[in-house]
């Protein structure tokens, strides 16, 4: 239970600017997830908070107290890394209580508290088990309990990619468990959880998105997902995206209906390829504005039948279909033409003889219908709700490539 405040924090290492003027406040008891690509500065940021590194400039406050110059052992931070090493010669109880024994004279008290923490991580009755007898998931829990025990009453828990080496199924169960544990009334710790996994990031109370040493966005999961500040954030929180650039040709007044607590207005976009697409946005775009917009692959609904009457529907031939477990990943080759919904006669000029083809990437749940019907060579209709389009001011092609490029 500590508030963390970071002011104008910069960090250089071996002549490289790793972090650049970071400002943020993490509230008491918040569970924060920290994401960013390799080299974005995630590890440096948590290292600075824990006191493992000294900042080049800037200040760090815990509960209003300047800790910038305080050594790591006095900062009351518990760390758990991906490569946590349990002491092989100590049983679970001794592993968990080790750090506290080093600090506290009263060993009985320490054991009592350790047992409570062991209860919390659901290892009751296993306290005399040795690490080599523990499964991967159990070891993970022991490491978590040990990190928790290293923290005294008001402290900060830092989890650095704790589940990276685990199988997907186990990760799914553990990550919710961990949040429940640290949020339990007994602990209620301020937690920073570094991860590269989108699902894991979504369980934070707020998410810090870091890129090239600066904070791109620090917001609730909903905001990061639905209102990404820029294309980088939008792309980071997507498996695959479809992007279009074009011009707004019409704008309809705000609807009375609210969506995600926002008033949206409908805009009609003519893309560079002469497609007509609808979007709804709360941003203040005007007719004539150049925009770039994205639709995430999972925001499409797919129908086996060819049904063009609906707005925002695209039909095309399945070029590739890949079974991915819960999701079917489809690449659709779509010959585009301006769609109805917008009366076609007003836009006959955009009809051309050769319709441009565009690959649309979609993902649909693997229901029986999907598996039986969505196969390579089939023609299907996909449709996206306009509320799910994310619109940005026009991003030049070069910059677009640069952001979406995977290295």
């Amino acid at each position: 239970m500590t508030q963390i405040k970071i002011e104008n924090l910069s960090f250089q290492r071996r002549g490289f600017q790793i972090l650049n003027n970071i400002n943020l406040t993490i509230e008491n008891g918040e569970y924060i997830t920290l994401v960013g690509p390799t080299g974005s500065g995630k590890s440096s940021l948590i290292g600075l908070i824990a006191g493992l590194y000294k900042p080049t400039s800037g200040k760090i406050y815990f509960d209003g107290i300047d800790v910038t110059k305080i050594p790591p052992e006095e900062r009351n931070c518990g760390l758990m890394f991906e490569s946590y090493a349990l002491f092989p010669h100590l049983n679970i109880l001794d592993n968990v209580s080790y750090a506290r024994h080093m600090k506290e004279a009263n060993h009985q008290d320490t054991y009592d508290i350790s047992r409570e923490v062991i209860d919390l991580v659901r290892l009751t009755d296993r306290e005399s088990t040795m690490p080599h007898e523990c499964s991967g998931g159990m070891q993970q829990r022991v490491a978590l309990a040990r990190a928790i025990m290293a923290i005294e009453k008001r402290g900060i828990l830092i989890l650095d990619e704790p589940f990276k080496a685990l199988d997907a199924g186990l990760r799914l169960n553990l990550r919710r468990e961990v949040k429940n544990i640290v949020k339990s009334p007994l602990l209620n710790m301020t937690t920073i959880h570094v991860t590269n996994d989108m699902k894991e990031a979504m369980m934070g109370d707020r998410i810090i998105v870091l890129d090239q040493g600066t904070i791109r966005q620090f917001d609730s999961p909903d905001q990061v997902l639905y209102n990404p500040k820029d294309l980088f954030v939008a792309n980071f929180f997507s498996t695959e995206i479809n992007h279009f650039s074009g011009k707004i040709i019409a704008r309809e007044p705000t609807e009375g209906k609210m969506f995600r607590e926002k008033q949206l207005s409908k805009i009609i976009i003519s893309t560079n390829e002469n497609y007509i697409l609808y979007a709804k946005t709360d941003k203040n775009f005007q007719v004539g504005d150049e925009v770039t917009f994205i639709i995430r692959s999972q925001y499409f609904k797919a129908r086996h039948k060819r049904r063009e009457s609906k707005t925002n529907s695209i039909y095309g031939k399945i070029k590739r279909a890949k079974f991915m477990g819960a999701w079917l990943r489809i690449e659709l080759e779509a010959p585009f033409k301006p769609h109805n919904g917008l009366s076609e006669k007003n836009h006959t000029e955009v009809h051309t003889n050769t319709l441009p083809m565009k690959t649309i990437k979609i993902e649909v749940p693997t229901t029986r219908t999907a598996i039986h019907n969505f196969i390579v060579g089939e023609t299907i209709t996909v449709y996206y709700p306009s509320e799910f389009v994310i619109v940005f001011p026009r991003i030049p092609e070069k910059k677009l490539e640069q952001i979406l490029r995977v290295d």
């Binding site: 609904k301 991915m324 819960a326 693997t366 290295d407």
Partner: protein, 380 residues
Amino acid sequence: MPDIELQHIRKEFEDGKIIALNEINLKINNNDFAFLLGPSGCGKTTMLRVISGLTQPTVGKVLIDGVDVTGSPPQERGIAFIFQDFNIFPLSVFENCTYALKVQGYSRDYIIQEGEKALTIVGLAHRADEIPIGWSNGDLQRLGLARAICSGAKILIMDEPLGSLDPKISAEFRWELRRIIKDQGLTAIQVTHNQEEAMAIGDYIIIMREGLILQQNTSELLYRYPNSLFVGNFLGGINILEGYIRKDYQDNYYDVKIRLGGPTFKIHSTDKKFSLDENVIVLFRHEEVYLFPLDYDFENSQADWTGIVLMDGSISEKYLTGKAMRYMVELGNEDTVSVAKPEVFQYQFDINEGIKVGIFNEDLRLFKYPKNLAKEMDLQ
């Protein structure tokens, strides 16, 4: 054109106290890309080592191309490795790539020819003279692959090669990896803990547990028709309900009554026979559960709901996973099911809202009640 065959492989450690592999029989055909999955300690790595000759089996034979290679050293098996922590030498990309050829004393011309070929395949020809220090992990993986190709090996063994890559990078690289393996006529076996990666690029998946192969099949068949609760659970989110056989239709169809006043399902089982009153487990996946508002009009719906079993439920929890909305739904009988719906799903439900929950009989898989359910479901 190598295929790999393991016959009755058993591997013991510490005088038989630890059985790492237990009667493994496996065939990997030429130019297959196979994935090996399983919880830590299941024997995956030991199996890779036995295939490559780094470890000798206690019992059994390793055949490559029909030739018994048990006992012969790795370098005679035509196998190349790619590991997560690539050993890059502080030499140029070209020298890194052709190191093995140089050590083996090949002529300068041959080395240049093979090195250029391998670097071209992986798209690094234009960077041959660079020193790969400070390279991104993606590029280092490329170099590792070039080195493997250059060595002339036709079997590629990869232990978590993409483990250190960002998810976005590895997604891109994995397609290329598959293409190169197929184009170059390599036979590849890869160990990973990333199920999605295995499903995306593998020809099939081998699931191991406690030194045994549990199931081997294409990802789709494994995911949809697991032969055990463990395999079902290992490959993705499942729900299980406990019940008993109430009626045997004698044509592999059974009526299963769910405990505590749950519904009755009519379930097909081709591979297992059940007796009346036998305790069973019914398995279905998160995405196979349908949710409807209470006033949903089934009679006038365009969709075909024939064969769906409806239950009353109430939403107890919901959260975003980034790609889907996850609902926890309490059923009338105290069971809870986990349901994943795309965010564009036409209905949004609130916590405590009463709803109808539907599951198609055809989506249900029937299993014998295991001796120890908790152990069977334990992924660790």
